[in-house]
């Protein structure tokens, strides 16, 4: 009996103790970018020369690319190297946390590289300076000519560790490279790293190319090209350079795009003078009709799970955005705002749809939830369109054209990026004018 009493008393007194714990809710914080120090990677003295690469400066070059990547996100603030107290060789082994905290850094990246026998070996570590502990450490080996990609991969790993979402630095952007006067534009397919380096041209420019789109699963591209004034859908393997014609389609064909598994292409074309949405199986080449409506249906894009399709239609009078099941059933209009909506693209994260909106002669790039709620217009300009998502669904790349004079003078087309918060708008450096960008998935997946 006594025991029972004791148990009761202990139980209730412990309850009393729990009630007394002070709880404070923290619902706000600052939005300042995280101060991060990227120490130049230490070059091992055993390193041997490698043709075409300055080994001694490789460490600092890689750290500069990492810094530039971080800066471009708007989430990190890479600190100036002049303020660093500790040298890279010692910092790599065990940083003096107090010294780094002095310059107000919260995270530190250190690393070591060794070039030997024609191979590049890289080690890097990420340190949490406030907790004085290592957050992540990785090592990998590759060919030295891949050093830029090494920098991007390190950036991705650190970004992922600090933000919880996948990075997007080891990626490429394909676009239509434009040159020449406005009336006689030469359009070629261009491809570059996401930071603007390593630009290459994939077509010669004899024929007009339009709407290149990356496959979400591999390094395949589908695009539209005019051959003897007939639109053709092409498939291009970037790794091998192999190109093939998927098919000739009648009338106006628009914007072919891959399904999430990369096995189908979805597009719109006009079978009997009226544009509808079709899919084509890349293996069997069987074409399937998805919509059958007297209005113009264009710009289809799959949801990442492949269950839904978002597209444009003018069935309500003005061009608006609609969502339907992937078999064409349950069509639902999701935009009701004033203005015209176009080029909807489902985010790879699945939570948002990006679009172009035209209202009172101005062009907006915006995002909204998949049911059409929570519309946010991120940027406004004279002419801009065709948003494409970064593989982690956080940043959009799109293109912008300037107003030109009566003879086409002063005309330019440029690529821009903006993140889904609407801050951090940046112009991407391209060698020529550029339009219609498409972002690849991560190369090292």
């Amino acid at each position: 009996m006594k025991k029972i009493f004791l148990i009761f008393i202990i139980y209730f007194s412990s309850l009393n103790f729990l009630y007394a714990l002070i709880e404070v809710d923290i619902t706000r914080g600052n939005l300042d970018p995280l101060p991060i120090a990227v120490s130049p990677l230490h070059v091992d003295i055993k390193s041997t020369e490698y043709e075409g690469i300055k080994i001694k400066e490789l460490g600092i070059d890689i750290s500069k690319i990492i810094e530039r990547n971080f800066k471009s996100t708007g989430l990190f603030n890479p600190l100036k190297k002049e303020a660093f107290v500790q040298k890279p060789d010692i910092a790599h082994l065990k940083p003096r946390f107090e010294d780094w905290r002095l310059i107000k850094a919260q995270a530190l990246v250190t690393g070591k590289i060794l070039v030997k026998d024609g191979k590049l070996k890289v080690e890097f570590r990420l340190w949490d300076l406030t907790a004085a502990k290592e957050m992540t450490a990785l090592a990998f080996t590759t060919t030295p000519s891949n050093w830029r990609r090494v920098a991007h991969i390190i950036s991705d790993k650190i970004y992922e560790r600090l933000t919880g979402e996948e990075g997007y630095f080891d990626t490429r952007i394909i676009y239509v490279a434009e040159s020449g006067p406005k009336e006689q534009r030469i359009k070629k397919l261009g491809i570059m790293d996401q930071d603007g380096a390593n630009t290459k041209y994939l077509t010669l420019g004899n024929e007009l190319v339009l709407t290149p789109r990356f496959s979400p699963t591999n390094q395949m591209v589908t695009y539209l090209s005019y051959f003897r004034n007939l639109p053709r859908v092409y498939l291009l393997d970037i790794e091998t350079g192999m190109q093939e014609v998927v098919g000739n389609f009648p009338g106006m064909t628009f914007a072919p795009r891959f399904s999430p598994d990369g096995k189908k292409i979805i597009m719109s074309f006009a079978e009997d003078g009226n544009s509808d949405i079709y899919t084509m199986d890349l293996e069997t080449r069987v074409v399937e009709r998805i919509t059958n409506h007297s209005s113009i249906d264009t710009s289809p894009s799959f949801s990442p799970d492949g269950k839904y399709i978002v597209f444009n239609s003018d069935r309500s009078g003005l061009q608006q955005i609609y969502v339907m099941r992937s078999d064409g059933n349950e069509v639902k209009r999701i935009t009701f705002g004033s203005g015209i909506y176009g080029t909807p693209v489902w985010s790879p994260r699945g939570d948002l749809i990006a679009f172009t909106k035209v209202r009172k002669g101005r062009f907006y790039i915006g995002v909204m939830r998949t049911d059409g709620s929570g519309e946010r217009l991120l940027t406004e300009n004279f002419y801009q369109e065709a948003p494409s998502w970064s593989p982690n669904g956080r940043v959009l790349v799109f293109y912008r054209e300037t107003k030109s004079g009566s003879k086409g003078e002063g005309f330019s087309a440029t690529l821009w990026s903006i993140d889904i918060t609407g801050y951090n708008e940046r112009k991407l450096a391209t060698k020529t004018d550029a339009s219609d960008p498409s972002w690849s998935s991560l190369l090292s997946k």
């Binding site: 009393n16 009630y19 923290i26 706000r28 914080g29 600090l162 956080r394």
Partner: protein, 268 residues
């Protein structure tokens, strides 16, 4: 039958007794009175009616003049007090000195009071509109963030009831941590991302021990966002050291729990 009834009654009465004795909401806690704020009443004028605006100025000016006079009237005693030592010292010198000291002190005591009163009055004249504007602004903000406020007030009510921190102490702590916490911006806004951190503090506000309450969740697959958030919260607490804690009542705030919830921020 009767035996079991008696047992039942006994147990129930014991339960009730224990509940009354131990559960905090059953105990009538002494009313937590806020610290006493002294308020001085100052006569603005003989007429206490609220005057019309143009008249008010005159009255205020008059009162100011009056007060200036009061100051100048009262100031001389200091000078007079100085004169006193010139008198012929009496046999009980020490007593006299004490008196003089007292007299010297008195005018000095009065003076700042008068100054305060006049400053107070000036502020009141200048600020009436601004205060009104502030109230309006506050109303607007209230309307916009009604949900938020409701939640906050609920939590603070809960806290002031159950704990030893006053509202202002809690606000000071909260504001301090707001400044230290760099919220990772890439977080999804539609997920449950509450991070609870339990701290054991030293008397000076530095952290003896910190513990993430759901730390198992950090290492589960698919919880990378949670991990990033939890780590950012821990960084914030460590950066903020020493925390702004009240000078007294250490036992009450030695153990403290911080609930980091960025949902409101990420939505906006």
């Amino acid at each position: 039958m009767t035996k079991s009834l008696i047992y039942s009654l006994m147990f129930h009465s014991v339960m009730i007794l224990l509940t009354v004795l131990t559960l905090p909401f059953m105990i009538r806690q002494p009313i937590d009175l806020p610290p006493i704020v002294s308020v001085e009443l100052i006569q603005i004028s003989d007429k206490t009616n609220i005057p019309f605006a143009p008249k008010a100025r005159k009255i205020i000016e008059e009162t100011k003049k009056k007060e200036e006079r009061v100051v100048s009237d009262q100031a001389p005693p200091a000078a007079k007090a100085k004169e006193k030592p010139d008198r012929i010292p009496l046999p009980d010198d020490t007593k006299e000195k004490k008196k003089i000291v007292k007299k010297k002190q008195n005018p000095e005591e009065i003076e700042p009071q008068i100054r305060q009163s006049s400053e107070f009055e000036k502020k009141e004249i200048v600020d009436t509109n601004q205060i009104a504007a502030l109230i309006d602004k506050a109303k607007e903000e209230e309307a916009v963030k009604k949900d938020k406020v409701a939640k906050l007030t609920q939590s603070s009510v809960k806290n002031s009831f159950a704990t030893g921190l006053t509202l202002s102490e809690e606000d000071a702590l909260r504001a301090q941590i707001f400044g230290c916490w760099s919220v990772p911006l890439g977080l999804p806004y539609d997920k449950d991302l509450l991070v609870r951190i339990k701290l054991k503090l030293k008397k000076d506000g530095t952290i003896m021990k910190s513990e993430i309450l759901d730390h198992q969740r950090m290492n589960r697959p698919g919880q990378k966002f949670y991990k990033a958030l939890a780590e950012s919260a821990l960084r914030a607490v460590r950066l903020c050291q020493p925390l702004k804690v009240p000078p007294t009542g250490y036992e009450k705030w030695r153990d403290i729990q911080l609930n980091f919830n960025p949902t409101e921020m990420l939505k906006g």
